[in-house]
Symmetry: C2
């Protein structure tokens, strides 16, 4: 079995190692899974039990500045704050950079600004790790392809492997033990009027990390064994709905997939519930809107915030119910 | 296949039919399922997919006065209010009495006082139908045994078949097509200090009836196929925990069974969520108490209210967090 360092060596061995740049600045967007990733077939390499499908959020994500430093350890700066080496995010970033050390032999300053709340189920780690990989690739001028970068990012945080393309992206679970076939791929069917709305319920750090939540769910939920089959059907249905521009079918898959994922969590022991009272209130408001004939569906990740999906034409009606809603046009051309 | 009327005829044919009394007054308690009934194998006779186990709530339930009247239809009075014949509860009660009409040939006045909120997931229909059967049996002096009455009540409302005994009661799912082996049976292991707490979140009528919720769940939830096996294991474990007086094991089964039932509902389509924001708030409060070392677990039926289970010794600590809590000693001797 290969470990992460082996995979990195394999990926980089054919690359021409030129002089690194002094400093680079990259941006990686966040992405929201519409058919979720929940559960690993390999915890070392972050290989998933199922494929998944996301949509990239334009302009929301991480701006990361990376430079080489003469120091005995990496320096991590997050949203302007220099983190103590024992801060959980500093540990995660440094552990990840350490995987590259056998090749790069150097320490880094990572200065990352995220314009989304950290660890509130808005996939901040996806954009964070995607940006870190993009930055490493540029700094060292490895000229890795996007799929290769996707594989590297996956080993930092699974969902990060979907942040390398705009629009819909499918992460193929892959078959291989080394995960070289487990990476993102764009699903190139744009949907010009599709919008995402985020209504922040809480920016609290989540009480159970996704990683721990997944492991507990796969180990203890009596419903987890039925999850992979559910995902497979949902993937088929959502792709068809996207081709057909059938928004209600699309929304049904998205919402039912998210609720089913949370159902596997709450049937784990101890139960995992990322919901807050406001989460439930927002769900009921969404269902009320639907009863009024307004096309809105929600999804929810490992945090209390709901994300809404709707067509541009409905923005006005929806903002009446959710005045604080931040709306993102997912396929805006600029 | 037998229908309800056939079963009633079978049960009553061997009974000596004497003159009915003029009027009777009975009380039937409510019961709370600790391992839940969710899903039917036969919708005509209310035969369940799984066995279940409840605890009877002393003194909470229905006081029902039944008398024969000279009229062309049944008169239903609920909590002092004469119901219109089109009221859903009047329809339910009259439909049920109609099943007996081929034998009794008479109409009734049913005057039922419930000291628990109606249809808020506190099993009001369980005590209502159990009381109605007890009253019919007494009025007509059929001298049916408790198991026979349990079978009759089950055909009105499944969970009513568990309301004929104090303490823990198991409802055997049975094997027979006519359901003559599907009735309650006392599980005679008392637990003197066990308490139930009810904290009312809402007395609203639930938006989806248990009957409709069950049917939608069995038909559309991808997790429902795993539910019967979960229940079977939970039944085995809870009985062992009751024998052993192992409160934490007991509580774990109770809470995980309830959450798993709700997980099957929310993964149905359209999703079924009996939760309100306060439901989630109360869950988090329960988990906080447990983190402080206080033994409290919850269960939840097809409504927003949680019911807590704890030992008498913890009442003080728990009432600090839930000042409005109504506490019932489940095995109190009087």
């Amino acid at each position: 079995m290969k470990n992460k360092c082996d995979v990195i060596k394999d990926l980089l061995q054919s690359k021409q190692i030129s002089f690194p740049k002094e400093e680079v600045l990259v941006f990686a967007p966040s992405n929201i899974a519409l058919v979720k990733y929940w559960g690993k077939r390999d915890t070392e390499l972050n290989l998933p039990q199922t494929s998944s499908l996301s949509v990239t959020i334009p302009k929301k994500g991480a701006n990361t500045r990376l430079k080489l430093i003469d120091a005995e350890q990496d320096h991590i700066i997050l949203n302007g704050e220099a983190l103590d080496a024992k801060h959980p995010f500093a540990i995660k970033a440094a552990d990840y950079l350490t995987l590259f050390r056998p090749i790069t032999k150097r320490f880094y300053q990572v200065n990352s600004d995220s314009n989304i709340p950290i660890a509130a189920g808005l996939a901040s780690s996806a954009s964070g790790f995607a940006a870190l990989v993009m930055a490493l690739n540029e700094l060292h001028q490895w000229q890795l392809g996007l799929e290769e970068q996707s594989i590297l990012a996956r080993m930092g945080s699974g969902s990060a492997c979907r942040s390398f393309w705009p629009g819909f992206v499918e992460w193929h679970k892959g078959q291989n033990d080394d995960g070289m076939d487990s990476h993102g791929e764009p699903f190139n069917v744009p949907w010009p009027d599709l919008c995402l709305g985020v209504s922040l319920v809480s920016e609290q750090i989540k009480p159970v990390s996704s990683r721990d939540g997944m492991n507990r769910t796969t180990q203890t939920s009596p419903f987890y064994p039925a999850w992979p089959n559910k995902v497979e059907q949902d993937l088929e249905n959502i792709k068809q709905a996207i081709y057909d521009k059938n928004f209600h079918r699309f929304g049904q898959v998205v919402e039912s997939n998210a609720l089913a994922m949370h159902a596997t969590m709450m049937s784990a022991w101890p139960p995992i519930l990322y919901w807050l009272p406001e989460t439930v209130e927002h769900m009921h408001r969404v269902w009320q809107l639907r009863q009024q004939g307004i096309g809105i569906y929600f999804t929810q990740d490992a945090g209390p915030n709901l994300k809404f999906l709707f067509m541009k034409q409905q923005i006005g009606d929806i903002q009446k119910q959710f005045p604080m809603l931040e709306v993102v046009a997912l396929f805006s051309k600029q």
